[in-house]
Protein backbone atom coordinates (compact mmCIF):
# COMPACT_ATOMS: atom_id res chain seq x y z
CA UNK A 1 0.00 0.00 0.00
CA UNK A 2 1.13 3.53 -0.76
CA UNK A 3 -0.42 6.34 1.30
CA UNK A 4 -0.59 10.02 0.46
CA UNK A 5 -0.50 11.96 3.73
CA UNK A 6 -1.51 15.56 4.24
CA UNK A 7 -0.53 17.30 7.46
CA UNK A 8 -3.53 19.64 7.73
CA UNK A 9 -2.09 21.76 10.54
CA UNK A 10 -1.71 25.48 9.84
CA UNK A 11 1.28 25.50 12.20
CA UNK A 12 4.67 25.36 10.47
CA UNK A 13 6.17 21.86 10.34
CA UNK A 14 8.89 22.61 12.89
CA UNK A 15 6.34 23.36 15.63
CA UNK A 16 3.50 21.15 14.41
CA UNK A 17 2.20 18.66 17.00
CA UNK A 18 0.45 16.87 14.13
CA UNK A 19 3.82 16.43 12.43
CA UNK A 20 5.31 14.85 15.57
CA UNK A 21 2.33 12.49 15.70
CA UNK A 22 2.79 11.62 12.01
CA UNK A 23 6.48 10.95 12.58
CA UNK A 24 5.60 8.14 15.03
CA UNK A 25 2.56 6.96 13.08
CA UNK A 26 4.43 6.60 9.79
CA UNK A 27 7.30 4.78 11.54
CA UNK A 28 4.83 2.05 12.53
CA UNK A 29 2.98 2.18 9.22
CA UNK A 30 6.14 1.67 7.13
CA UNK A 31 7.55 -1.29 9.07
CA UNK A 32 6.19 -3.88 6.66
CA UNK A 33 6.62 -2.22 3.32
CA UNK A 34 3.85 0.41 3.25
CA UNK A 35 5.21 3.53 1.60
CA UNK A 36 4.04 7.12 1.87
CA UNK A 37 4.50 10.65 0.67
CA UNK A 38 3.76 13.56 3.04
CA UNK A 39 2.74 17.17 2.42
CA UNK A 40 2.20 20.19 4.64
CA UNK A 41 -0.81 22.47 4.30
CA UNK A 42 1.05 25.18 6.23
CA UNK A 43 3.33 25.60 3.20
CA UNK A 44 1.25 27.18 0.44
CA UNK A 45 4.08 26.54 -2.04
CA UNK A 46 3.18 22.83 -1.83
CA UNK A 47 -0.52 23.28 -2.64
CA UNK A 48 -0.23 22.57 -6.40
CA UNK A 49 1.74 19.40 -5.68
CA UNK A 50 -0.79 18.34 -3.01
CA UNK A 51 -3.67 18.77 -5.46
CA UNK A 52 -1.81 16.65 -8.04
CA UNK A 53 -1.08 13.96 -5.45
CA UNK A 54 -4.71 14.00 -4.26
CA UNK A 55 -5.88 13.37 -7.84
CA UNK A 56 -3.34 10.60 -8.39
CA UNK A 57 -3.49 8.60 -5.14
CA UNK A 58 -6.15 6.17 -3.96
CA UNK A 59 -5.15 5.93 -0.30
CA UNK A 60 -5.30 9.32 1.33
CA UNK A 61 -4.73 10.22 4.97
CA UNK A 62 -5.30 13.69 6.37
CA UNK A 63 -3.98 14.41 9.86
CA UNK A 64 -5.28 17.54 11.52
CA UNK A 65 -5.67 19.42 14.77
CA UNK A 66 -9.17 20.34 15.95
CA UNK A 67 -9.74 24.09 15.51
CA UNK A 68 -12.93 25.45 17.10
CA UNK A 69 -14.69 22.08 17.00
CA UNK A 70 -13.93 21.32 13.36
CA UNK A 71 -11.22 21.60 10.73
CA UNK A 72 -8.80 24.56 10.61
CA UNK A 73 -9.68 27.43 8.26
CA UNK A 74 -6.48 27.02 6.26
CA UNK A 75 -7.16 23.33 5.59
CA UNK A 76 -10.72 24.26 4.61
CA UNK A 77 -9.34 26.80 2.13
CA UNK A 78 -7.18 24.13 0.54
CA UNK A 79 -9.93 21.50 0.41
CA UNK A 80 -12.26 24.00 -1.27
CA UNK A 81 -9.79 24.10 -4.15
CA UNK A 82 -9.92 20.35 -4.81
CA UNK A 83 -11.97 18.68 -7.51
CA UNK A 84 -13.99 15.86 -5.91
CA UNK A 85 -12.79 12.45 -7.03
CA UNK A 86 -14.76 9.97 -9.07
CA UNK A 87 -12.67 6.84 -8.58
CA UNK A 88 -12.57 4.32 -5.75
CA UNK A 89 -10.27 6.36 -3.52
CA UNK A 90 -10.57 6.17 0.22
CA UNK A 91 -9.72 8.76 2.78
CA UNK A 92 -8.88 8.34 6.47
CA UNK A 93 -8.20 10.99 9.09
CA UNK A 94 -6.14 11.45 12.24
CA UNK A 95 -7.92 14.05 14.40
CA UNK A 96 -6.01 15.36 17.40
CA UNK A 97 -6.67 18.05 19.98
CA UNK A 98 -5.45 19.66 23.16
CA UNK A 99 -8.50 18.88 25.25
CA UNK A 100 -8.17 15.34 26.53
CA UNK A 101 -11.63 13.77 26.40
CA UNK A 102 -12.97 11.92 23.37
CA UNK A 103 -16.26 13.82 23.48
CA UNK A 104 -14.42 17.03 22.58
CA UNK A 105 -13.55 15.66 19.14
CA UNK A 106 -16.81 13.97 18.14
CA UNK A 107 -18.32 16.99 16.42
CA UNK A 108 -15.16 17.33 14.32
CA UNK A 109 -15.14 13.61 13.62
CA UNK A 110 -18.74 13.78 12.33
CA UNK A 111 -17.72 16.46 9.88
CA UNK A 112 -14.80 14.39 8.59
CA UNK A 113 -17.17 11.54 7.83
CA UNK A 114 -19.29 13.91 5.77
CA UNK A 115 -16.23 15.51 4.19
CA UNK A 116 -14.99 12.20 2.76
CA UNK A 117 -18.19 11.92 0.71
CA UNK A 118 -18.03 15.55 -0.34
CA UNK A 119 -14.52 14.89 -1.69
CA UNK A 120 -15.83 11.90 -3.63
CA UNK A 121 -13.98 9.36 -1.48
CA UNK A 122 -14.93 6.37 0.64
CA UNK A 123 -14.59 7.07 4.35
CA UNK A 124 -11.89 4.93 5.99
CA UNK A 125 -12.43 6.17 9.54
CA UNK A 126 -10.85 8.65 11.90
CA UNK A 127 -8.26 8.01 14.58
CA UNK A 128 -9.46 10.27 17.38
CA UNK A 129 -7.22 11.36 20.24
CA UNK A 130 -6.91 14.40 22.49
CA UNK A 131 -4.45 15.46 25.19
CA UNK A 132 -1.76 16.45 22.70
CA UNK A 133 -1.13 20.09 23.67
CA UNK A 134 1.99 19.12 25.61
CA UNK A 135 3.81 17.84 22.53
CA UNK A 136 5.05 21.33 21.74
CA UNK A 137 5.92 22.23 25.32
CA UNK A 138 7.69 19.00 26.21
CA UNK A 139 10.85 17.40 24.89
CA UNK A 140 12.57 14.03 24.82
CA UNK A 141 11.03 11.17 26.80
CA UNK A 142 8.13 13.30 28.08
CA UNK A 143 7.11 14.19 24.54
CA UNK A 144 7.56 10.63 23.33
CA UNK A 145 5.28 9.38 26.07
CA UNK A 146 2.51 11.26 24.23
CA UNK A 147 3.56 10.47 20.66
CA UNK A 148 4.91 6.90 20.93
CA UNK A 149 1.48 5.19 21.08
CA UNK A 150 0.78 6.44 17.54
CA UNK A 151 3.41 3.99 16.23
CA UNK A 152 1.16 1.05 17.09
CA UNK A 153 -1.74 2.78 15.37
CA UNK A 154 0.45 3.13 12.28
CA UNK A 155 1.06 -0.64 12.30
CA UNK A 156 -2.68 -1.20 12.67
CA UNK A 157 -3.45 1.11 9.75
CA UNK A 158 -0.89 -0.65 7.52
CA UNK A 159 -2.65 -3.97 8.13
CA UNK A 160 -6.28 -2.85 7.87
CA UNK A 161 -6.02 0.17 5.59
CA UNK A 162 -8.52 2.00 7.79
CA UNK A 163 -9.27 2.96 11.39
CA UNK A 164 -12.22 0.64 11.94
CA UNK A 165 -10.58 -1.75 14.42
CA UNK A 166 -11.41 -1.93 18.13
CA UNK A 167 -7.81 -0.98 18.91
CA UNK A 168 -8.22 2.30 17.02
CA UNK A 169 -11.54 2.98 18.71
CA UNK A 170 -10.07 2.34 22.17
CA UNK A 171 -7.09 4.59 21.37
CA UNK A 172 -9.31 7.63 22.01
CA UNK A 173 -9.43 6.94 25.74
CA UNK A 174 -12.30 8.09 27.95
CA UNK A 175 -15.19 10.03 26.41
CA UNK A 176 -15.43 12.05 29.65
CA UNK A 177 -13.52 11.69 32.89
CA UNK A 178 -15.33 10.24 35.88
CA UNK A 179 -16.32 12.78 38.60
CA UNK A 180 -13.44 11.86 40.91
CA UNK A 181 -10.85 12.34 38.15
CA UNK A 182 -12.47 15.66 37.21
CA UNK A 183 -12.21 16.83 40.81
CA UNK A 184 -8.51 15.92 40.96
CA UNK A 185 -7.79 17.47 37.55
CA UNK A 186 -9.68 20.60 38.61
CA UNK A 187 -7.20 21.00 41.46
CA UNK A 188 -4.29 20.28 39.14
CA UNK A 189 -5.56 23.00 36.74
CA UNK A 190 -5.57 25.55 39.56
CA UNK A 191 -2.12 24.67 40.86
CA UNK A 192 0.45 22.56 38.98
CA UNK A 193 -0.92 23.29 35.49
CA UNK A 194 -1.04 27.05 36.17
CA UNK A 195 2.56 27.02 37.31
CA UNK A 196 3.72 25.00 34.31
CA UNK A 197 1.85 27.31 31.89
CA UNK A 198 3.46 30.34 33.53
CA UNK A 199 6.85 28.66 33.28
CA UNK A 200 6.32 27.85 29.62
CA UNK A 201 5.18 31.44 29.00
CA UNK A 202 8.27 32.85 30.73
CA UNK A 203 10.47 30.66 28.54
CA UNK A 204 8.70 32.16 25.50
CA UNK A 205 9.56 35.66 26.73
CA UNK A 206 6.11 36.50 28.08
CA UNK A 207 6.17 39.41 30.51
CA UNK A 208 2.46 39.69 31.30
CA UNK A 209 0.01 37.66 33.38
CA UNK A 210 -1.61 34.95 31.26
CA UNK A 211 -5.07 36.39 32.02
CA UNK A 212 -4.02 39.89 30.91
CA UNK A 213 -6.76 41.90 29.14
CA UNK A 214 -5.14 44.02 26.41
CA UNK A 215 -8.41 45.52 25.13
CA UNK A 216 -10.21 46.53 28.31
Amino acid sequence: MHVMIINGSPRVKQYSNTDKILEKFTAGMSENGTTFEQYEISDRKQWDKIREAFDKNENILIALPLYVECIPGLLMEFLESLTPKKDDSKIAFILQSGFAEGIQLRCGESYLKMLAGRLGCRYAGTLVKGDNFGIRLLEGAQREKITDPYTEMGREFAVKGDFSSDECRKFTGPEVFPPFVRAVLGLVFMTVAKRSFKKAAASWGCTRPLDYRPYN
Binding site: R136, F189, Y215
Partner: protein
Amino acid sequence: MILIVNSTFDDQISKEVSAAALERELDIEVIEAAPLKISHCIGCNHCWLKTPGECSVKDDYEIILKKVIHADQMWVISDTALGFIDHKGKNIFDRILPICTMYLKFKGDQMRHVMRYDKKTDIGLIITGEADRDYLKRWSERAALNFGSRSLGVFNRNEIKEAVSCM
Protein backbone atom coordinates in the same frame (compact mmCIF):
# COMPACT_ATOMS: atom_id res chain seq x y z
CA MET B 1 -24.53 45.49 21.30
CA ILE B 2 -25.01 42.93 18.55
CA LEU B 3 -22.05 42.48 16.23
CA ILE B 4 -22.69 41.35 12.66
CA VAL B 5 -19.61 40.08 10.82
CA ASN B 6 -20.24 39.59 7.13
CA SER B 7 -17.52 37.33 5.70
CA THR B 8 -19.21 37.21 2.27
CA PHE B 9 -18.86 39.80 -0.49
CA ASP B 10 -22.66 40.17 -0.62
CA ASP B 11 -23.31 43.29 1.45
CA GLN B 12 -26.99 43.09 0.53
CA ILE B 13 -27.36 40.44 3.26
CA SER B 14 -25.98 42.67 5.99
CA LYS B 15 -28.11 45.55 4.71
CA GLU B 16 -31.21 43.36 5.06
CA VAL B 17 -30.11 42.30 8.55
CA SER B 18 -29.54 45.97 9.50
CA ALA B 19 -32.97 47.01 8.18
CA ALA B 20 -34.75 44.20 10.05
CA ALA B 21 -32.75 44.95 13.23
CA LEU B 22 -33.62 48.66 12.93
CA GLU B 23 -37.32 47.76 12.90
CA ARG B 24 -36.78 46.02 16.22
CA GLU B 25 -34.68 48.95 17.50
CA LEU B 26 -31.71 46.67 18.16
CA ASP B 27 -28.26 48.10 18.80
CA ILE B 28 -26.18 46.54 16.04
CA GLU B 29 -22.78 47.12 14.51
CA VAL B 30 -21.84 45.66 11.14
CA ILE B 31 -18.35 44.75 10.02
CA GLU B 32 -17.95 43.96 6.33
CA ALA B 33 -15.11 41.48 6.74
CA ALA B 34 -14.71 40.22 3.16
CA PRO B 35 -12.76 43.26 1.88
CA LEU B 36 -10.61 43.26 5.03
CA LYS B 37 -7.31 41.47 5.37
CA ILE B 38 -8.07 38.53 7.65
CA SER B 39 -5.67 35.60 7.75
CA HIS B 40 -6.30 32.12 9.05
CA CYS B 41 -5.20 31.20 12.59
CA ILE B 42 -1.61 29.94 12.36
CA GLY B 43 -1.81 28.05 15.67
CA CYS B 44 1.22 29.75 17.20
CA ASN B 45 -0.34 29.92 20.70
CA HIS B 46 1.23 33.33 21.26
CA CYS B 47 -2.19 34.69 22.30
CA TRP B 48 -2.08 32.28 25.24
CA LEU B 49 1.60 32.02 26.14
CA LYS B 50 3.64 34.91 24.71
CA THR B 51 1.46 38.01 24.31
CA PRO B 52 -1.66 37.05 26.31
CA GLY B 53 -4.85 38.22 24.62
CA GLU B 54 -3.06 39.56 21.54
CA CYS B 55 -2.87 37.78 18.20
CA SER B 56 0.56 37.57 16.60
CA VAL B 57 -1.00 37.91 13.15
CA LYS B 58 -1.22 41.66 12.69
CA ASP B 59 -4.12 42.16 10.34
CA ASP B 60 -7.68 43.50 10.30
CA TYR B 61 -9.00 40.78 12.60
CA GLU B 62 -8.09 43.03 15.53
CA ILE B 63 -11.09 45.21 14.54
CA ILE B 64 -13.37 42.23 15.22
CA LEU B 65 -11.54 41.16 18.38
CA LYS B 66 -11.84 44.62 19.94
CA LYS B 67 -15.59 44.65 19.23
CA VAL B 68 -16.51 41.10 20.14
CA ILE B 69 -15.37 41.46 23.76
CA HIS B 70 -18.11 44.08 24.25
CA ALA B 71 -20.79 42.32 22.19
CA ASP B 72 -23.75 40.43 23.64
CA GLN B 73 -24.05 38.54 20.37
CA MET B 74 -21.91 37.94 17.31
CA TRP B 75 -23.63 36.85 14.10
CA VAL B 76 -21.40 35.64 11.31
CA ILE B 77 -22.72 35.76 7.77
CA SER B 78 -20.84 33.10 5.83
CA ASP B 79 -20.65 31.44 2.47
CA THR B 80 -20.62 27.64 2.54
CA ALA B 81 -18.37 24.93 1.10
CA LEU B 82 -18.18 21.15 1.42
CA GLY B 83 -21.31 21.09 3.58
CA PHE B 84 -19.87 23.54 6.12
CA ILE B 85 -19.12 27.26 6.41
CA ASP B 86 -16.34 28.20 4.02
CA HIS B 87 -12.81 29.07 5.08
CA LYS B 88 -13.53 32.81 5.33
CA GLY B 89 -16.31 32.15 7.82
CA LYS B 90 -14.28 29.54 9.68
CA ASN B 91 -11.33 31.93 9.99
CA ILE B 92 -13.59 34.39 11.85
CA PHE B 93 -14.18 31.69 14.47
CA ASP B 94 -10.64 30.24 14.53
CA ARG B 95 -9.10 33.64 15.24
CA ILE B 96 -11.25 34.11 18.35
CA LEU B 97 -8.75 32.24 20.54
CA PRO B 98 -7.32 35.38 22.26
CA ILE B 99 -10.62 35.77 24.16
CA CYS B 100 -9.71 32.56 26.01
CA THR B 101 -6.76 32.16 28.36
CA MET B 102 -4.38 29.23 28.55
CA TYR B 103 -5.86 28.30 31.92
CA LEU B 104 -8.19 25.32 32.13
CA LYS B 105 -11.27 24.41 34.13
CA PHE B 106 -14.12 21.95 33.98
CA LYS B 107 -17.46 23.23 32.79
CA GLY B 108 -19.94 20.48 33.49
CA ASP B 109 -18.17 17.27 32.57
CA GLN B 110 -15.81 18.78 29.98
CA MET B 111 -12.57 20.74 29.98
CA ARG B 112 -12.70 24.34 28.81
CA HIS B 113 -10.35 27.29 28.75
CA VAL B 114 -11.00 30.04 31.28
CA MET B 115 -12.41 33.08 29.47
CA ARG B 116 -10.28 36.24 29.42
CA TYR B 117 -13.13 38.75 29.59
CA ASP B 118 -16.37 38.96 31.58
CA LYS B 119 -18.68 39.40 28.60
CA LYS B 120 -20.13 36.19 27.21
CA THR B 121 -20.97 36.59 23.54
CA ASP B 122 -23.70 34.37 22.11
CA ILE B 123 -23.18 33.36 18.50
CA GLY B 124 -25.43 32.98 15.49
CA LEU B 125 -24.90 32.00 11.86
CA ILE B 126 -26.49 33.19 8.64
CA ILE B 127 -25.38 31.09 5.69
CA THR B 128 -25.53 31.41 1.94
CA GLY B 129 -25.55 28.36 -0.30
CA GLU B 130 -25.88 24.66 0.39
CA ALA B 131 -24.67 23.11 3.65
CA ASP B 132 -25.60 20.38 6.08
CA ARG B 133 -27.74 22.50 8.35
CA ASP B 134 -28.25 19.87 11.05
CA TYR B 135 -24.51 19.54 11.30
CA LEU B 136 -24.04 23.31 11.39
CA LYS B 137 -26.53 23.58 14.25
CA ARG B 138 -24.60 20.97 16.19
CA TRP B 139 -21.31 22.65 15.35
CA SER B 140 -22.50 26.14 16.35
CA GLU B 141 -23.59 24.79 19.74
CA ARG B 142 -20.12 23.33 20.25
CA ALA B 143 -18.42 26.47 18.86
CA ALA B 144 -20.34 28.61 21.40
CA LEU B 145 -18.52 26.75 24.19
CA ASN B 146 -15.38 28.56 23.03
CA PHE B 147 -17.13 31.86 23.80
CA GLY B 148 -18.44 30.55 27.14
CA SER B 149 -21.88 31.14 25.66
CA ARG B 150 -24.68 29.56 23.63
CA SER B 151 -25.71 29.28 20.01
CA LEU B 152 -28.61 31.40 18.78
CA GLY B 153 -29.12 29.20 15.73
CA VAL B 154 -28.27 28.74 12.09
CA PHE B 155 -30.33 30.52 9.45
CA ASN B 156 -30.37 30.59 5.71
CA ARG B 157 -29.89 33.77 3.73
CA ASN B 158 -33.63 33.79 2.98
CA GLU B 159 -34.53 33.56 6.69
CA ILE B 160 -33.17 36.90 7.81
CA LYS B 161 -36.38 37.92 9.60
CA GLU B 162 -36.28 34.67 11.59
CA ALA B 163 -32.62 35.25 12.43
CA VAL B 164 -33.26 38.82 13.57
CA SER B 165 -36.20 37.63 15.69
CA CYS B 166 -33.63 35.59 17.66
CA MET B 167 -31.37 38.60 18.26
